[in-house]
């Protein structure tokens, strides 16, 4: 699965994108966040405090969204455009 990271999450994880093989047991965005946060201290810091927002295939999704069929999953902090 292609994962992309932006802003403070990108800085904490130390990369802007990566390809990861995800366990078949992961069903939702929320489960994926927990799995990533358990990888190491940098991922843990990136996903701490529940600030991460997610997009699947460039559309906003909630933590309960299913990741089946996703081509690209993005994680980022609350947006500050405009």
């Amino acid at each position: 699965m292609r994962l992309v990271y932006f802003a403070s999450l990108r800085e904490r994880i130390g990369k802007s994108e990566e390809e990861l093989d995800l366990p078949d047991s992961l069903r939702t965005i929320g489960e994926l966040i927990d799995w990533l946060a358990a990888r190491d201290e940098f991922y843990a810091a990136a996903f701490a405090k529940g600030i991460a927002r997610a997009a699947i295939n460039k559309k906003h999704v909630k933590p309960e969204a299913l990741i089946a069929g996703a081509r690209e999953i993005a994680f980022f902090p609350p947006m500050t455009g405009g």
């Binding site: 992309v4 802003a7 997009a55 460039k58 559309k59 947006m79 455009g81």
Partner: protein
């Protein structure tokens, strides 16, 4: 289909030229509401803002917001230009133009677009401080999230 222009770009924009393009040859437009967002220097403490964005999604998300504005109000034209990259105090960041026959629709649509751009378009601002210290990512404001509420009440 009404004239619509959505751009995410590092270059500056010319609000007057965009406004002229929207009304060119038209005689049915009675109102143009516009908004320009500029970089403030925060009482001299800010050297620049660095705007990061999600290529592809930024344009798509702005288009989805514009779709919703067109569903809600009888618009005759919409332009949204959002810059990315390094932007210094006094420089322009974002432009929204909404044309309609009457002023209420134009104003409401422009405010709606700005409210949703702030909290839904995938842009993030990082500060570069004038004193050379490491800048912070600008925090999202509760007030910006709250600003979305009124539109759901209206829906």
């Amino acid at each position: 289909m009404i004239p619509r222009k959505i751009r995410v770009q590092s270059e500056n924009f010319d609000a007057a030229a965009e406004s002229a393009a929207l009304t060119e040859g038209r005689r049915d437009i009675g109102a143009i509401a516009s908004f320009i967002g500029l970089c403030r220097d925060e009482a001299g403490t800010l050297e620049a803002l660095e705007l990061e964005y999600y290529p592809g999604m930024a344009e798509e998300e702005i288009a989805r917001i514009a779709d919703e504005a067109e569903r809600r109000w009888p618009l005759l034209g919409v332009t949204v230009i959002h810059r990315h990259g390094r932007i210094r105090p006094g420089e322009q960041i974002v432009l929204v133009l909404c044309a309609s026959a009457h002023r209420a629709a134009a104003f409401s649509a422009a405010e709606f677009l700005m409210d949703f751009l702030k909290s839904r378009a995938p842009f993030w601002k990082k500060e570069h401080r004038a004193d050379g210290t490491q800048g912070e990512w600008v925090a999202a404001k509760d007030a910006d999230e709250a600003a979305l509420e009124r539109w759901s009440r209206d829906a």
